[in-house]
């Protein structure tokens, strides 16, 4: 078992301490509440909220004052960020001793409430985003926190079909599971990490599907074992969702049985 050590010196703040509410409109606006009570923080450390979304070329950054004198964003416009899946990061930053060092951080904070333009609440493990993909129908995009299923925005109704169409499901999802788990292994994480980045969440998802509920093999040198584990998970995924039967039912109009 590979043990990982937090050498960064930064500490995590629970996301529950940050509440974000986004309102629809042009531009969208948001309110934030930040609770830093009972955390041992430097009183003059700077506090920042950063908003971003998948494929954004910028981070929209909001200064929130200092720990002992917070200035909470109220009715704050989101002028730059456009995607539906907006997420926020809270940083508490040293401005004295080691300038710029991150003391505390809460990442991947999703709005609790949001207008129609914004995704709210806990996300699934595979958010779907419509994008301009040229002649490709779908792609995976791996970001720091999430992996996204991108679907071609020029195909009418494809976002909905990606969620429920048995043909799309059969053609795309088993390969998605295979690819994401393969990539998750390369990230060298463990499923008991206190983390909800995509590789950890997907490995937990895989373990839940695995016929023996086996933990994924650890260690970068055990590629064969990974591949076996992944194939077991993909097979279990197809069986759990009756992928072939639903595909047959949809294409042949039959009952999908043998």
């Amino acid at each position: 078992m590979i043990k990982r050590v937090n050498f960064t010196g930064r500490h995590r703040i629970s996301r529950d301490r940050v509440q974000i509410e986004v309102f629809g409109g042009q531009p969208r606006k948001f309110n934030a509440t930040i609770n830093l009570q009972e955390i041992n923080l430097l009183p003059h450390a700077a506090v920042f909220l950063e908003a971003m979304c998948a494929r954004s070329t910028v981070i929209e950054r909001f200064e929130c004052g200092e720990v002992e004198n917070l200035r909470l964003p109220q009715n704050q416009p989101l002028n730059v960020i456009e995607g539906k899946n907006v997420f926020f990061t809270l940083k508490v930053v040293d401005r004295t001793d080691r300038f710029g060092r991150i003391l505390y951080i809460a990442e991947n904070i999703r709005p609790k409430d949001a207008g129609e333009q914004t995704a709210a609440g806990r996300r699934g493990i595979l958010p779907i985003e419509p994008k301009d993909l040229g002649e490709e129908v779908w792609q995976l995009e791996f970001m720091e926190q999430d992996v996204f299923l991108l679907v071609n925005k020029d195909v009418p109704g494809l976002v909905d079909r990606a969620r429920s169409d048995p043909l799309f499901y059969a053609a795309v999802y088993p390969e998605v599971v295979r690819r994401v788990l393969t990539k998750a292994f390369e990230e060298n994480v463990e499923i008991d990490d206190e983390d909800d980045r995509w590789p950890v969440m997907w490995l937990r998802f895989g373990k839940g599907l695995h016929p023996g509920r086996e933990d994924p093999p650890t260690g970068q040198d055990r590629k064969d074992e990974w591949e076996d584990w992944i194939e077991d998970v993909v097979k279990a995924f197809c069986e759990t969702h009756a992928v072939k039967s639903k595909y047959l039912a949809a294409t042949l109009g039959g009952n999908g049985g043998e």
């Binding site: 960064t8 010196g9 930064r10 700077a46 920042f48 494929r55 954004s56 070329t57 910028v58 981070i59 950054r61 002028n79 730059v80 456009e82 940083k91 930053v93 401005r95 300038f99 710029g100 060092r101 991150i102 994008k131 301009d132 993909l133 040229g134 995009e141």
Partner: protein
């Protein structure tokens, strides 16, 4: 000419011209498309361009920054149809004729795709404008090269949003990688081979390490160069 933007039909027709010109490099540029009402539409604001020589990316960046000033940054950054129209207008500059023939490269050099993370930084006109916008005065590593080609220095930096989002990054790059004797980038900093302190391999890795610990958006160039470590200091001191 008053600047317009392509409608969907216009972009499609422009792609067809690119394909035709690849097969027959003597194909004339279809300038009539620029003002064809069935292929283009007006911009919300009135902006005018005039034909001119744009030899380097700096020529294009400075001219376009001035011309597009009436539009908001956001409008300019996202408007694929505007950039594609501008490309047709300046086609002799981005794809010059040599001995009566043009060498048309991949579509993404000419048709802007702002949402495509592998293509957006390869649009010749857009990336020139964007470098000037994000790098400000620290642009000489990028904008001195020919407008009609995409150089490694530009692509290695501009494709990595985590680098370009850091406000002091372009000053840092200029101080680390500009060779004043050569009047251009230091040798080998974007080559395939990994070298200590290089731009292509080592810098992105080191920035990824540092961003776990430091709020890089808070730092100035001196502070970031200090944090990068010894392997980056050599080039800095030589410069």
């Amino acid at each position: 000419m008053i600047v317009r933007q392509f409608c969907d039909h216009g972009t499609k027709a422009f792609r067809e011209f690119l394909a035709t010109c690849r097969k027959d490099p003597t194909t004339p540029v279809p300038r009539a498309m620029l003002e064809d009402d069935s292929l283009t539409e007006p911009l919300p604001v009135s902006v005018e361009v005039t034909p001119r020589r744009l030899v380097t990316k700096a020529d294009a960046a400075n001219y376009l920054a001035s011309v597009l000033k009436p539009m908001s940054i956001h409008e300019v950054e996202e408007n694929a149809k505007l950039w594609t129209w501008l490309t047709l207008f300046f086609f002799d500059e981005v794809c010059p004729e040599r001995a009566g023939r043009r060498s048309v490269k991949n579509d993404y050099h000419y048709v802007f795709e702002p949402k495509n993370s592998r293509h957006f930084y390869r649009h010749l006109l857009f990336i020139s404008w964007r470098v000037l916008r994000v790098a400000g005065e620290h642009n000489r590593l990028f904008l001195g090269s020919s407008l009609s080609t995409l150089d490694k220095m530009t692509t290695e930096v501009m494709k990595r949003l985590f680098l370009t989002r850091i406000p002091c990054m372009f000053e840092v790059l200029d101080r680390l990688y500009w060779d004043k004797d050569r009047g251009k980038a230091r040798v080998g900093v974007v080559s395939q081979q990994v070298r200590p302190g290089d731009l292509r391999h080592r810098l992105p890795l080191r920035i990824h390490q540092l961003e776990k610990t430091y709020d890089l958006l808070s730092l100035d160039a001196d502070q970031l160069i200090d944090l990068l470590g010894d392997e980056f200091q050599q080039g800095h001191q030589e410069a």
